[in-house]
Symmetry: C2
DNA sequence: TCCATAAGTTAGCTGAAACTAAATAATGTC
DNA sequence: GACATTATTTAGTTTCAGCTAACTTATGGA
């Protein structure tokens, strides 16, 4: 729970991004990483080398980075901070869904264990954040339940809207306006090819979601009861 | 309220330190500044030059820095963040007096206007922090009431314990243990020369305060009623 | 299988902000 | 008023984390 080597905010950001890419894609390609951190691929490549020196990832050139156990713990700690902060800002300060991501992004790196603990206690040791993302426990356990991008569902398939990328305020506002939130059940009614819009029924009303939004929405497939 | 040029945390720290030195000593000497920031005088000197380029201080070599109006506003904004955070952590999370300084030191640089506003509202737009330091208003007005170091009072003089440096946890714990807090009335009973201990009566009990502690305690002189 | 394109890396540079060592100004004492 | 002491600044280096440009490896179509 305590870092030995004094880890910079930049390194924490890389660890977090690599973790999230591994969860989503199974691996963290350099360019995807660069994209997520908003730096050039050259910078990401270099930083991955630094993370390797710090023992946070293992990698061999040209084949991406894989978090070590130590790197994974660091990533989960940052993610716990991030998600607790998001939930705290929503619950305690009544801030909106789409605002809290940017706030948490900055605060996550300077949150002490002490304050983290106080926040978690205040919120009743929560297990999911406002976007439906699971919050790692104090001991950094996390249950990443398998989800699929909404765009991959075929018409007729049903599921539960489980989480949505927290980094697209416009998307979050769009959903908030329509009262769509994690936990809602949904059924794909129709979809158009080539990343076109997806038609989804949420408790009655059918919504048309553009391709980009559909890819950002993660769905847990209906256990068919 | 919004910075034009994207100001780093380091620059914010310098502005704050210069402000506090100006309040305490009337001016901010390079070595005092270096001391406060925990860098070498050479580093402080260099950074003062940078602050001058940013229009935050005016200075001519060898005669210290003076905050410009812009620099003063930046300092007060950081100080507002710091003191609101300290109070928030004490009031809402029940953290102790001596812990909150370090926390606030890190958080102050990443607190958005939004969250600052929420915290201030939650606390009821407070005007002093837990250490007795005044909190600048939203419009950055502050009332720095004239105080003297306890060590400068002569036996027989009376006053009100008004504030204490928040950066010395041991000192704060010492005071907390004895139930001494800002607002307490006091009377100097005796003192020893050469930075020796000062004997002070707080509502009955006489306490012996070492020279270092005495210098850290700021006292508002009794208006003699 | 070959090769064009895409992905990833290396080399070399930049700006922040720290450092040490050396030089220079201010100050206070006699 | 001279000079020793202290304070401040300058010069030159380091580390971090980004950049561009040039190069290398992977990959997928024909």
């Amino acid at each position: 729970m305590v870092h030995e080597q004094l880890i910079s905010a930049a390194v924490e950001d890389y660890a977090k991004a690599i973790y999230e890419l591994e969860v989503r894609d199974g691996r963290a390609r350099t360019s995807a990483l660069a994209d997520r951190i908003s730096v050039t691929p050259a910078s990401a490549s270099q930083m991955v080398k630094r993370l390797a020196e710090l023992g946070l990832v293992s990698y061999s050139r040209y084949r991406g980075a894989r978090l070590t156990e130590k790197g994974r713990r660091l990533a989960l700690e940052v993610i716990r901070h991030h998600r607790l902060l998001e939930l705290f800002l929503v619950e305690e300060f009544g801030m909106s869904w789409d605002q809290v991501h940017a706030e948490a992004e900055a605060l996550e790196h300077v949150l002490s264990e002490q304050v983290e603990e106080r926040i978690a206690a205040r919120l009743g040791e929560p297990v999911v954040d406002p976007h439906g993302d699971p919050i790692p426990t104090v001991t950094l356990e996390i249950e990443e339940c398998a989800t699929r991008g909404l765009e991959s569902l075929e018409p007729g398939e049903r599921g539960v809207f489980t989480r949505v990328s927290d980094s697209e305020p416009a998307m979050l506002r769009f959903l908030a306006e329509r009262g769509i939130a994690p936990g809602d059940r949904l059924e794909v009614v129709d979809k158009q090819p080539f990343d076109g819009p997806v038609f989804v029924r949420f408790s009655g009303a059918v919504e048309v979601l553009g391709g980009g939004l559909a890819r950002a929405m993660r769905v847990r497939l209906d256990p068919e009861r």
